[in-house]
Every structure is written in structure tokens, then in C-alpha cells.
């Protein structure tokens, strides 16, 4: 099915960014990750978040308005706890201009497309460019091809997603919020990926 993930080779050199409101490291084992989801409407951003945060999947589509805020704390294998603070943004066109409101403070941007929709893949590329232009230079980006369970309707090849993410220094994974495939992996791998790229104190609570 090809739900693989790939880590592009990037030296995680001096990617320091001015320590913002995340400062105050009491316990370096506790991390806080501000994460924003972006992407076309209907690609399943809310479904990914709700699967991750509540373990639920609701097939009836509920259009997100503005942005929803959710948080979830997980424990990694090395007993590090990570608190995710997630902005699940609306994919509707009218909210595009307001996206900076939500991605401004984010350490991680997850850009989602639907593997059955080439339009959503180009929309994802739009978001990548937008973040490269206007986002924080240190923001860690992930490209996520969702609805991987619908492989018979696939219109975006795994290789296309992989190639594009590699070219842009992004983490890449295909997921299915419906079957829960790769959902936890996405968030866990994102932490590893982000910590390898960002100075640890940026993420420490």
C-alpha cells in the first residue's frame, strides 16, 4: 500500500530560532510542540487530529470553521512526554488569508493532501511555498498524503509525494485516518524529526 515514511537527509546545523514563549525548561524530558495542520478542504485534517487525539473516526464530514484547537500528550519510548498543541485549520479558501494567525507560532507544520485528489496535492504545494515565503524560517514541515486506504482510487503516486517532500526538505508519510494507519507514527516521527532539526530547548517546556 505504500504507507511509508521518509526522512530526507538534512544537516540539522544551526537552526536555532529565538526562544519564544516556550522557554523555561524545568524538565528537559517534557516537550511541548505547537503544530498546525494546513491543506485543502476535505483532505481529512480534522479526521487525522481526531484520530490522534481521541482515537475516533467520524465519516460524516464536518467542515471546520476558522480553526480548532486541540491538545494531546503522548509518552515516547524513552519516557519523554510530548504535549502537542494542535491548530486544525479550515481548508476553505476564505480562510487562506488568515492562515498566518495559526501558523505563526507553530514549530511544526503538517501539510495534508488527499492521495485521490491531484488538486489537493497542488494545494499542498501552495502551502509549502506560502510557508517558505512567510512562515518562520525554522518551521519544520511534514507532507502527509491522507486517505491511503483508498488505494484503488489513488491519483497521486507515492513517489510524487516523496520526491516533492525531499526536494523541499520535508518529512513525508502516507496515512489513513479511517484505518488509523500511520497516524500515531506521523506524530511520533514528527517529534523525532523536529528534535533532530531544532535545538532541544525550543521544544522543552
Amino acid at each position: 500500500m505504500g504507507c511509508g515514511s521518509s526522512f530526507p537527509d538534512r544537516d540539522s546545523g544551526q537552526l536555532g530560532r529565538p526562544n519564544s514563549e516556550n522557554g523555561g525548561g524545568q524538565d528537559a524530558k517534557n516537550l511541548r510542540v505547537k503544530l498546525v495542520l494546513l491543506g485543502d478542504s476535505g483532505v481529512g485534517k480534522s479526521c487525522i487530529v481526531l484520530r490522534f487525539v481521541r482515537g475516533q473516526f467520524d465519516p460524516t464530514s464536518k467542515v471546520t470553521v476558522g480553526a480548532s484547537f486541540l491538545s494531546q500528550t503522548i509518552a515516547l519510548q524513552d519516557s519523554t512526554t510530548v504535549k502537542f498543541e494542535i491548530w486544525d485549520t479550515a481548508g476553505q479558501e476564505r480562510y487562506a488569508a488568515l492562515a498566518p494567525l495559526y501558523y505563526r507560532g507553530a514549530a511544526v507544520a503538517v501539510i495534508v493532501y488527499d492521495i485521490t485528489s491531484p488538486e489537493s496535492f497542488s494545494k499542498a504545494q501552495y502551502w509549502v511555498k506560502e510557508l517558505q515565503k512567510h512562515g518562520s524560517p525554522d518551521i519544520v514541515m511534514a507532507l502527509v498524503g491522507n486517505k491511503a486506504d483508498l488505494h484503488e482510487k489513488r491519483e497521486v503516486a507515492v513517489q510524487d509525494g516523496m520526491d516533492y517532500s525531499e526536494k523541499n526538505g520535508m518529512f513525508f508519510i502516507e496515512t489513513s485516518a479511517k484505518t488509523a494507519d500511520n497516524i500515531n507514527e506521523l506524530f511520533e516521527d514528527m517529534v523525532n524529526y523536529a528534535t533532530s532539526r531544532l535545538p532541544y530547548d525550543v521544544l522543552a517546556v
Binding site: K62, V63, V65, A67, S68, F69, E93, R94, L98
Partner: protein, 544 residues
């Protein structure tokens, strides 16, 4: 309307009006026939039955004259359809239905009430029924009617064609049109179009006009993506929510102390830089406060509550979304923090500061703590169970009690209570229902529906009857009325307007007039006795 006929003429397609049809509600300005080139393919209202398409009027909008019996059958069938879809308020399904229809479908043409939004270049923006893109031809026709009249230096407000009224509202580059055979007064339909326009502004603000200045052929539909439920739920509320024509809001009945507790904690929030803080239960206000000098119009409240309640995603988690309050400032977005405490109760904190999310989140945590500690949330749930004012509980002699809204009856879950309601149909003197609107407070209270008005169809009919009554009481042409008593086969309707309040009451059609008037006095006294519980008193931020 007659006075303004020079600028805005009302076009009356006289040939289509059947004798005896009720047309007294809108007086026609001129009896002009609109002679437009006929284009049956795109009119959508061209006769369907064959042979009924009379070409004598030459009008674009042509309604066939069906046999009376056929109409009656259709009316009953429609009612059955509606009832079978949903026979209670809770089972109404939001969102667009009949998406597959277009102006070529017979079912589409038979819908009793259409709403359209289109641009001044004729591009469809929204249609209540059917797919907007398939209705491009029909939209162009509507646009042609507007521009045809505009070219003559006039503006079209109403086209009457048999049982149908076509109401137009022009808002800059946006045209709104209602085509209705529901016999609602013109003023009501126009008010509904105003609200639909307001709802659009809530989502997009007036800055949308700039898109049309840059490109007159601008396609607005993508910008409204995913908002079908917002509009369909607003349109649905036209048939049950009195706030849509009263321009007032209503409160959830609560003890004075409970409402005070909620108000106090909201006030703290407002003092910390929040523009409006409102705690709501469904469409009813629990408490609200505004920052100094900020005032919130009841229509803005209605549109905002509709926007929040019809967007399912707000129930999933706390949200932060741009919204525009058209009466407050139609050109700019505010930012709304929205959080549901339970299935019914939600908090809306509005600010001008787009960076305020984390502050508002903290405010919400504090508010939640106070609400839980002072039992406000549990009181709200109890009030929901008890309901509002029941006409059966109208006290015989004015009195003020400590019980919930002066109810002397057993708790609502007791079987005794149901027994009583069943054999006493409605309240004393055949009182079925009432609405009391306080002019000073901009608030109204509506009684619960008694068993005589238990189906949705009956409630909708009563709501329309009130609407008609409201319109006639506020008709500037006829002059302000003080009282109105009218009897038809469905009800006796009584309306009483003073400087301080308006009372609308529905009685059994056989009710005695003198007794009905006496009962209305008792209702007013009752409301005075319980006003602490049913209204939000003091520090009203409503003024405009």
C-alpha cells in the same frame, strides 16, 4: 410603499391574480405590466402542464393556473412530505437538500420558497435548492429582470405572479431574490433577505464588494464553500424563530441569582479586553456583557448564534474563528473564541485582537470554574428540562411565587402533569400561545407550544401568522395600531402594542373576545411577576 412609487415601483402582473386571493397585505404602487421578452427555456416557471402556458401577459415569470382541487391536493401532499421528513424540531436535517435538482426539475419548480443570492453579473452565489452551477441560466434571468428595471431608472422590489411573490433586494454588487408561494407579507420576505445578506457578511464581511470592483465576473461560490448548513439553518429558522422578525433576542429562564452569577464572571472577562462575552444555551441567552460603549444588535446575535450552532465543528473542540457582526461593523472581522461546555451551552468571546486566543482560552477556564462552582451549568440543564412559560400555568390571580416561573404543577417528568395537559387543551380562555416583546430591553419571551400546536406544521403556521400580524402592526402606511383582534378558521389572534411592550397571543378560534382581552392582561401581569427570571435585566448593552 405607495409613497415611494416614483423611485421603486412594484410590478403587478394583474392577469395572474385570482379573484379572492389575499392581496391586501401589500398594496400595489402601480398596476404596470412588465413586458419582458419571453424566454421559456430559462424562466424555470414556464408552465409545466401544457396548455396552461398562456402567452397573454408576455411576462417572464409565468405561473400556470392549476385547478383548485389539484392545488389543494398538492398542498396536502407537500404537507405530508414535510411532515414525513420531520415531524418535530429536532429531526430537521441541516444542509442542502435536493442538490440534484435544477430549474428543469418539476420538483424544484414546485418548492414553495426559494432563496437565491447572485452577483450583478448574473453569476449564481447561493440557491436554497439545487446546484448553483446548474442554475446559471436562471440566475441570469433574475439578473436581467433587475437590470431591465434599473435601466429605466427604477428598482424592482416585488413581482407578483398569481400565488407567487418574487422579492428582490439589491445590496451593491449582490442581488438577493426570494420566490415564494407561502403568502407571507412582502415586508417579512424582504426582512428574510436582509438576514440572509447579513449572514453572508458574518462569513465574509462587506469587503467582498472589492472583489467585484476588481472583476465583475468574479465567482463567489468558492468563498462560501461549506456554508450550506449555515444558510439552510437560517432559512429554517424563518419558520420557527420569532427573533427573525421581532428583532429581539430571548433568554433562557433562570433564577435571578443564577443569571447574576453568570453575568458577573462574564463582566470580568469584558473588563480584560474582550469586546462581547456571551453565554448561550442553543439560541437563548443565559447572560451577555459588552465592553464599554460596545453594543450588540439582536440581529447580530441571531446571525452569530445561527452561525455557531449550524457549524458542527465548533462542538468538537474549542475554536478561534473570524466573524463579522454586520450591525456592529460590516467591513471588519472580529475574532470569536467559541467553546461548548455541553451539548447545549456554549461561550462566545469576541475580540478585535487576532492574537488573543491564549488569553481567551484562559478566560474560558476561569469562567468554566465559576460556572461549575455556582451550579450555573446544572441550572441551565434543569431549565431546559422544565421549559419556558406554559400557558397552562397562567396564574388565576396575579401572584409572585418562588417556584420556577410560577409553575404550581408537578415536576415535568411526573405522569400527573401530562394527564393534566392532555385534558385541558391550552390555557385559560382558550389561550394557546403568546409572545411578549419588551421594547426597552430588546428581548422577547415566547410561551411553550401547548398541545393544540404540537406539530411542526402547526407551529410554523402560527409563526407565520404572528409574522403577518407583526407586519400589519408596523405598517407605516396604515399607521400605528394599538390593538388588533382577528379571527379565522385557525385561531383568534390578538395583538396589543404599547410604548413598553408588544403582546401577541393566539387563542382557540372559538374564544370569547372579552375573555381573551382579560386573559392578555393576566399574561402581562404574569410576565411582570417573573421578569427577573425570563429577562436579562440591567446593564443592557443593546442600543443603537
Amino acid at each position: 410603499m405607495a409613497s415611494s412609487q416614483s423611485e421603486d415601483r412594484e410590478i403587478d402582473i394583474t392577469t395572474s391574480i385570482e379573484p379572492g386571493s389575499d392581496i391586501t397585505w401589500v398594496r400595489t404602487g402601480s398596476e404596470q405590466e412588465l413586458d419582458l421578452p419571453s424566454s421559456p427555456s430559462s424562466s424555470g416557471y414556464a408552465g409545466e402542464g401544457g396548455g396552461s402556458t398562456s402567452a397573454t401577459t408576455g411576462s417572464l415569470i409565468e405561473i400556470e393556473h392549476e385547478e383548485e382541487i389539484e392545488q389543494e391536493q398538492m398542498r396536502i401532499q407537500n404537507q405530508i412530505d414535510e411532515i414525513s421528513i420531520s415531524d418535530s424540531n429536532s429531526s430537521w436535517i441541516p444542509g442542502k437538500r435536493h442538490q440534484d435538482e435544477d430549474d428543469g426539475s418539476i420538483s424544484w419548480r414546485k418548492r414553495k420558497k426559494h432563496f437565491f443570492i447572485l452577483s450583478n453579473s448574473g453569476k449564481p452565489i447561493y440557491s436554497r435548492y439545487g446546484d448553483e452551477h446548474k442554475l446559471a441560466g436562471f440566475s441570469a434571468t433574475l439578473q436581467a429582470i433587475v437590470s431591465f428595471v434599473e435601466n429605466g431608472g427604477d428598482s424592482v422590489k416585488l413581482v407578483r405572479a398569481g400565488k407567487h411573490q418574487v422579492v428582490f433586494l439589491v445590496k451593491g454588487p449582490i442581488y438577493l431574490v426570494c420566490i415564494s408561494s407561502t403568502e407571507e407579507p412582502y415586508e417579512s420576505l424582504r426582512g428574510q433577505l436582509e438576514l440572509i445578506y447579513g449572514q453572508m457578511l458574518v462569513i465574509l464581511t462587506k469587503s467582498i464588494n472589492k472583489c467585484f470592483e476588481r472583476n465583475s465576473k468574479f465567482d463567489m461560490t468558492p468563498l462560501l464553500g461549506g456554508t450550506d448548513t449555515v444558510f439552510s439553518s437560517l432559512i429554517h429558522s424563518f419558520s420557527w424563530n420569532p427573533a427573525t422578525f421581532l428583532h429581539a433576542y430571548t433568554c433562557l429562564p433562570l433564577s435571578y441569582a443564577t443569571r447574576q452569577a453568570a453575568g458577573a464572571v462574564l463582566q470580568d472577562t469584558a473588563d480584560s479586553g474582550v469586546l462581547f462575552a456571551t453565554l448561550m444555551c442553543r439560541h437563548k441567552v443565559i447572560s451577555l456583557v459588552g465592553a464599554q460603549k460596545a453594543s450588540l444588535h439582536p440581529d447580530d446575535m441571531l446571525l452569530l448564534a445561527n452561525f455557531v450552532m449550524s457549524s458542527e465543528s465548533f462542538r468538537t473542540s474549542e475554536s478561534f474563528s473570524p466573524v463579522c457582526l454586520p450591525r456592529y461593523n460590516p467591513s471588519a472581522f472580529l475574532y470569536a473564541y467559541i467553546h461548548y461546555f455541553d451539548d447545549d451551552t456554549y461561550l462566545m468571546l469576541l475580540t478585535t485582537n487576532s492574537d488573543a486566543f491564549y488569553h481567551l482560552k484562559d478566560c474560558r477556564l476561569r469562567i468554566e470554574m465559576v460556572l461549575l462552582k455556582s451550579n450555573v451549568l446544572s441550572e441551565v440543564q434543569r431549565s431546559l428540562l422544565d421549559g419556558g412559560m406554559h400557558v397552562e400555568d397562567l396564574p388565576p390571580i396575579p401572584q409572585s411565587g418562588t417556584s420556577h416561573l410560577g409553575q404550581h404543577t408537578l415536576p415535568s417528568d411526573s405522569p400527573e402533569r401530562f394527564k393534566e395537559v392532555n385534558h385541558v387543551i391550552g390555557g385559560p380562555a382558550g389561550l394557546w400561545h403568546f409572545i411578549y416583546r419588551s421594547i426597552y430591553l430588546d428581548q422577547y419571551v415566547s410561551s411553550e407550544f401547548s398541545s393544540s400546536i404540537s406539530t411542526r406544521q402547526q407551529q410554523k403556521r402560527l409563526c407565520r401568522a404572528y409574522q403577518k400580524l407583526f407586519t400589519s402592526m408596523h405598517d407605516k402606511g396604515i399607521g400605528p395600531h394599538k390593538t388588533q383582534f382577528r379571527r379565522d378558521e385557525n385561531y383568534v389572534l390578538l395583538c396589543w402594542v404599547t410604548q413598553d411592550f408588544e403582546l401577541y397571543a393566539a387563542f382557540d378560534p372559538l374564544a370569547d373576545k372579552a375573555l381573551a382581552i382579560k386573559t392578555c392582561n393576566r399574561v402581562c401581569q404574569w410576565i411582570k411577576d417573573v421578569e427577573n427570571e425570563i429577562f436579562l435585566l440591567g446593564a443592557s448593552p443593546f442600543s443603537w
